[in-house]
Amino acid sequence: MRIKALLGHREVGVAVALIVVYAVFISMKREFLSAGTLGDIVTVAAELGTVAVGVSFLMIAGEMDLSVGSNFALTGMLLAMLVTRLSWNPYLAFAVVLACSAGIGALNGLVTLSARIPSFITTLGAMMFWRGLALYLTQGWPISVFTDVPLLRWLGGAKVYHTFHISAAWWLVIGAVFWVVLQKTAYGNWVFATGGKRAAARALGVPDTRVKLVNFVLAGVMAGLAGCFQLGRMGSMSPVWGQDLPLEAIAAAVVGGNSLTGGVGSILGAMLGAVTMASIRIGLVMVGAPAYWYMAFVGFIVVAAVALNVRLGEVISWHR
């Protein structure tokens, strides 16, 4: 019975995928199982995962955000520009750029909800628009911060242990907060209800429009924050970085048991999804496989993990 209860969790699919990925890579390259490698994986996962957490939260409420990659690049770039070219106080600049990323999210929400067009379309447009603006602002050039800015070290530059960057710790904190809000609060119930049966939720007095709007804003802020993490870690931000991010974040979310149509999902699952994808990225390089295998591998994992989840769902409901 206990096993059945365990199998009922949405994270099972991704957990199995992660174990398989680890087993395969360790068998091919012993060094894959080391603190240094794990640190690299978690560091890559932290930036993708922060975006994925925001996207999952929005997906559970039944909406989508494809503009997270552009938001990521624009926010990181604005922070770099304000700190270097305009010599702003870094903390003030940080607050301002996060407000900008929230604004991008809010705009996505307002347009989607008031014009009643699918968020896929709204955020597809937003993705192109903000990317274009980012390219225009720097004429395509990356912006680097060469001075020592403590804020950037705090965001992602500092290493806490071995190859573990501080951004991974922030990501865990963010994940925990979102998990608690989703699982333990009334707001979390509203999110599930809004994405599940919207009409029923509305009849029960759930402010579904407001919930969606708030989640759009949160997805935007998470994307911007991830951009700041990356700027902190790399010291540079280019207007062309983060182009694959929206699809990678959605892939991490669905691998982790989030539904594309909303109503169900898991923050922990999305985080494990991000770790799985980062493991594939690092692992393929370590075994010396051509980098293009990454795409193929992720594609396979997405379908396999979701298929496993669906199958499990059927088995569980059958035996109930």
Partner: protein
């Protein structure tokens, strides 16, 4: 349920082992990584990859070329870190971002892994901030000087030339322009104008035409890459300027090679990127094996002229140039 998990496991293993089973070889084999900021989907980097693989075969070592699908430094850094964790015997990388590379390369060196820079390096004012052991690539400034010297015998004393820059502010292009300007002014006593022709072909032709109208004594045009060369070649063809205005360019491109064969363009500087892959592996191998310190290697000594254009065109097709 169990069957499904089992099936997935088998499928995964089959995919991995079937796809690149040859990846797991003897553990004591020397392994070198060459990591670029773009992958072999880009024809330029496909040539570098060729060089890496050929060197690996020649030396009997594992030489791995890696690069993200598009220009993506964070992904490149992640690959570099993975190579460190894989305990590579040496890594070559492009310095695609002067800020982002200082720390990863410091870490690799701290862990005893030799690192060589290829293709591009940090700008002059930051020299010495990134601890790679040697640079294998074109010296942009020296390449500019060489391009100008190729044309010296064909120019009169005090001639006027124009340097058409298609991306003003680009560190590499500016260095090329500086090399050209120095040679023309100092060795020929000539006049050099630098012209921002933008990356837009239509605008470029317009800007060049009005420059030539205002300065009919212009003897030669230097373009700094295919983006500048292609509109210039078109203008020379359209306006019948062949033989009246000489032209020299940088980098290989089918249009440019054709123009060289046709006598419109005197020649183009080739940075011979095959060498950047090949020599990186050779130097890392010698460093790992005999503790020989890697040395700088200037690959930008190639100059394609009408005599060599046909041979180069076929080598481009074969993937060596």
């Amino acid at each position: 349920m169990k069957r499904l998990v089992g099936l997935m496991l088998v499928l995964c293993c089959a995919l991995v082992l079937g796809g690149f089973g040859s990846a797991t070889l003897a553990a004591d084999e020397l392994t070198f990584y060459v990591i670029a900021h773009a992958g072999p989907g880009d024809p330029f980097w496909a040539v570098v990859q060729r060089g890496v693989q050929d060197a690996g075969k020649a030396l009997g070592v594992r030489a791995i070329f890696q690069g993200p699908a598009g220009y993506n430094v964070p992904e490149q850094v992640a690959m570099f870190r993975a190579a460190i964790e894989a305990k590579a015997d040496g890594i070559a990388t492009t310095i695609s971002d002067a800020r982002a590379w200082a720390e990863p390369i410091k870490e690799a060196r701290k862990r005893g892994i030799p690192v060589i820079a290829i293709n591009c390096k940090e700008p002059e004012e930051l020299r010495g901030t990134i601890p790679y052991m040697a640079y294998i690539g074109m010296d942009e400034y020296e390449a500019g000087k060489m391009a100008a010297r190729q044309l010296l015998p064909k120019l009169k004393k005090g001639a006027r030339v124009v340097v058409a820059i298609h991306q003003a502010g680009h560190v590499g292009l500016e260095a090329r322009a500086k090399g050209i300007t120095e040679v023309i002014t100092q060795e020929l006593g000539g006049k050099v104008d630098k012209l921002d022709i933008t990356q837009d072909a239509t605008q470029a032709i317009g800007i060049l035409r009005s420059y030539l109208k205002a300065n009919p004594d212009t003897a030669a045009i230097f373009t700094l890459g295919p983006l500048g060369a292609i509109p210039t070649i078109k203008m020379i063809r359209d306006d019948g300027l062949k033989g009246k205005v000489l032209m020299v360019s940088f980098d290989l491109d089918p249009t440019v090679i054709q123009a060289i064969s046709d006598g419109i363009c005197e020649g183009t500087v080739d940075q011979q990127q095959y060498l950047q892959g090949y020599m990186a592996v050779v130097e890392l191998y010698l460093c790992a094996k005999y503790k020989l310190n890697p040395a700088d290697y200037d690959t930008g000594r190639g100059f394609v002229t009408a005599e060599t254009a046909d041979a180069v065109a076929s080598l481009v097709k074969q993937g060596y140039r």
